[in-house]
Symmetry: C2
Subunit: 409 residues, 2 copies
């Protein structure tokens, strides 16, 4: 049975972790920083050393390609990102890129005949030091000149960064890849949570990246003197707001787990010790895996706000803010991951991803799948982030056998 070279993968992880090392096990390689540029150069050397075709596209995505016999064949992309958050961990993103590289090397060494080209790819700026999901968005044709004019990291940082990796605004806006040329996308990532660790399961197959919707929920009562107004007569907006928070929490936990709800901001007006609050503004955000579940949660939560307002003698206004649609993973690709795990004798489960990854962008242009390996204690974006060597190896072997399953399937 074909397997990756365990030691080579672990050596790569160690070598890469020295670039931008924080000295305590973590790495600081924000996208387009000097440390990231050094990491990119290191990755290029590994690709060339493995005898793969090296490519840098217009948005700075780097890849090593293994060509199959048919020049007209489509390309299966295996990828993730080499950049990190400042003071981040050594596995987030890096594990996916190095697993992809190791899988392609193994396939090349084995001389396996494949019906598609295979490309081990690192996306530019997944973490958002400059723009966020920049490489995958450019590849999917989702970036606009407007996006580039207002990067979250500031225009100066973007321009200095583009110069460092030899791309420019024009090349980024033209980095789109034709979906007809793609066979699919596979990404392995550390879970950044504790579900796998707690369940003692090796592989978590993501069914979807969750959708996110946010609302402002405003309860309106009546300001009153906090002494002279008897409590029975008060129309205290904060009583309604508090009740709503607790009931929404209970309802989502009871009826929508693993979906989640959060109230991250609250404000009471007029906002004095001795005045009964007339107005409370709540920041409501909820997440789930499918449009149907998101619609149902929204219906329930908005109806509940009206019920709570009525019970407390208040009125309520809800206004929608942002919407991010769920990104479902491809059923065939998910099955390939599960087939591979079964072949390797690894346990697996299906779960949602509550954080964003390049796979959510890639799923818009090609059949995609994301899967997780365990993170110790779920710690991530932190130098203490850790995934055991065995789990790293498992992740890469699953990728290898998923490629083989897709090739034979």
């Amino acid at each position: 049975m074909l397997n990756i070279n365990d030691q080579r993968l672990l050596n790569d992880l160690d070598e890469l972790a020295r670039i931008g090392s924080t000295g305590d096990g973590g790495v600081s390689r924000p996208a387009l920083s000097p440390a990231d540029v050094e990491g990119r150069a290191w990755f290029k050397r590994q690709i060339e050393a493995a005898g793969l075709e090296f490519h840098q596209d217009g948005t700075g995505n780097l890849s090593g390609v293994l060509r199959c016999a048919d020049p007209q064949a489509k390309t299966l992309i295996l990828g993730s990102h080499l950049d990190s958050v400042p003071n981040g961990g050594r596995f987030d993103g890096a594990l996916g890129v190095l697993s992809a590289l190791e899988v392609v090397r193994t396939l090349k060494e084995a001389g396996t005949e494949l019906p598609f080209h295979v490309e081990a790819l690192s996306f530019t700026d997944e973490e958002g030091s400059v723009l966020g999901l920049m490489g995958s968005q450019a590849m999917a044709g989702l970036l606009t000149a407007d996006d580039l004019a207002r990067p979250r990291g500031g225009l100066d940082a973007l321009e200095a960064g583009m110069a460092r990796i030899d791309v420019d605004e024009n090349s980024i806006l033209n980095a789109q890849r034709d979906p007809q040329t793609l066979a699919g996308y596979i990404e392995v990532h550390i879970e950044q949570g504790t579900r796998l660790e707690e369940a003692g399961i090796d592989i978590g197959v993501v069914t979807a990246m969750v959708g996110i919707r946010s609302f402002n929920v405003q309860f309106l009562g009546e300001a009153a003197h906090a002494g002279t107004m008897p409590m029975l007569k008060r129309r205290d907006a904060l009583w309604g707001g508090s009740d709503y928070i607790l009931r929404a929490k209970r309802h989502v936990m009871d009826d929508y787990t693993p979906g989640v709800v959060n109230f991250g901001q609250i404000n009471a007006k007029p906002g004095a010790f001795n005045i009964v609050p007339a107005q409370v503004d709540l920041a409501l955000e909820f997440r789930h895996g499918t449009d149907e579940e998101m619609d149902a949660m929204q219906r329930d939560l908005l109806a509940m706000a009206a019920t709570v307002a009525q019970e407390h003698g208040l009125s309520v206004r809800t206004s929608p803010l942002d919407t991010l649609q769920p990104a479902p993973m491809d059923a065939t690709m998910m099955a390939a991951i599960e087939t591979a795990a079964d072949a390797l004798g690894l346990s697996h489960t299906r779960l949602l991803s509550f954080a964003g990854h390049d796979a959510q962008i890639m799923s818009r242009i090609t059949p995609s799948v994301l899967y997780f390996v365990p993170s110790v204690k779920g710690i991530s974006h932190n130098p203490a982030e850790y995934t055991a060597p065995e789990d790293c190896i498992n992740g890469a072997n699953v990728m290898l056998h998923a490629v083989l399953a897709l090739a034979s399937g």
Copy 2:
């Protein structure tokens, strides 16, 4: 049976309401403003026309004195204030001063022999345009040079105002009255609430001006990603804060009515839509009529904060802010009001005052009582403030007969 002159009282209320009239039934006579100065001059003319001794003390309190036969006798003060909030009502304060004047005039005309001097008095700046409870605090010897250096209305307003009524810092700081010379203090005021109106009761005898204590209550949990952290594992400080608000409300309503509790401010940190709140700060304020009740409420509410924190996996910090002690009214003076109401066939009840009045200051130097007459719909500090003529007359007659009861008692 001796009675006040109804029409004279009502005429005085009408005449005074023309000074600083807002044109829609209300008055604007902020303390030491030109309108207030005009009102003060009008009051002086009424005192002199009634053949009473006119006095202005060092803090600008104005009074008309009816002397009894014994020059060594103590003085019973009947009073309230002529100043109003900007755009206030015509009864708040004015009713107490004009009732006092009418009672003293009636006693003088009847030639009633009394064991004490009786003084109808208007305190300077009860409402706090410049300093707040200025006249009664100066009389009680509670004002300091520091207070006068930092008046809430600003130093310029205080200095301009002092010049208008011919007082200065030195005279204010020496306006203290020797408690040994006082026989007591009686004040009638509109309720500024709806308890009497709703119960259909004529007179509300205040047992105490409530104490007020305030605390900051801080719940501490753990910030977390609002997507990836499962709800069961969250230590959401806002869940604790919300639960505490609702439980404190219920407990105070169940066990401490008519005591009240309010949460007038709330803040969640770090304060982002997608971050589970790590910290919630609540502004807690509660009020009740006695030190014992205040101590018990404090004990219960702080213990409840600890319980709620524990149940939600949080910690809690409580820090005391301000304390205002309850000002109990004098039992003998309260009984005199009730005796008078009974003699007049008026219904009465005992209640707490949840707002401040000059009586709370006077109670620190002499046996004092405050009583209420109904306010229509409880509206106050508003031109729509209204108390029916009959209730105004009842209030003054109760004062007259309370004086007689004390004289004979």
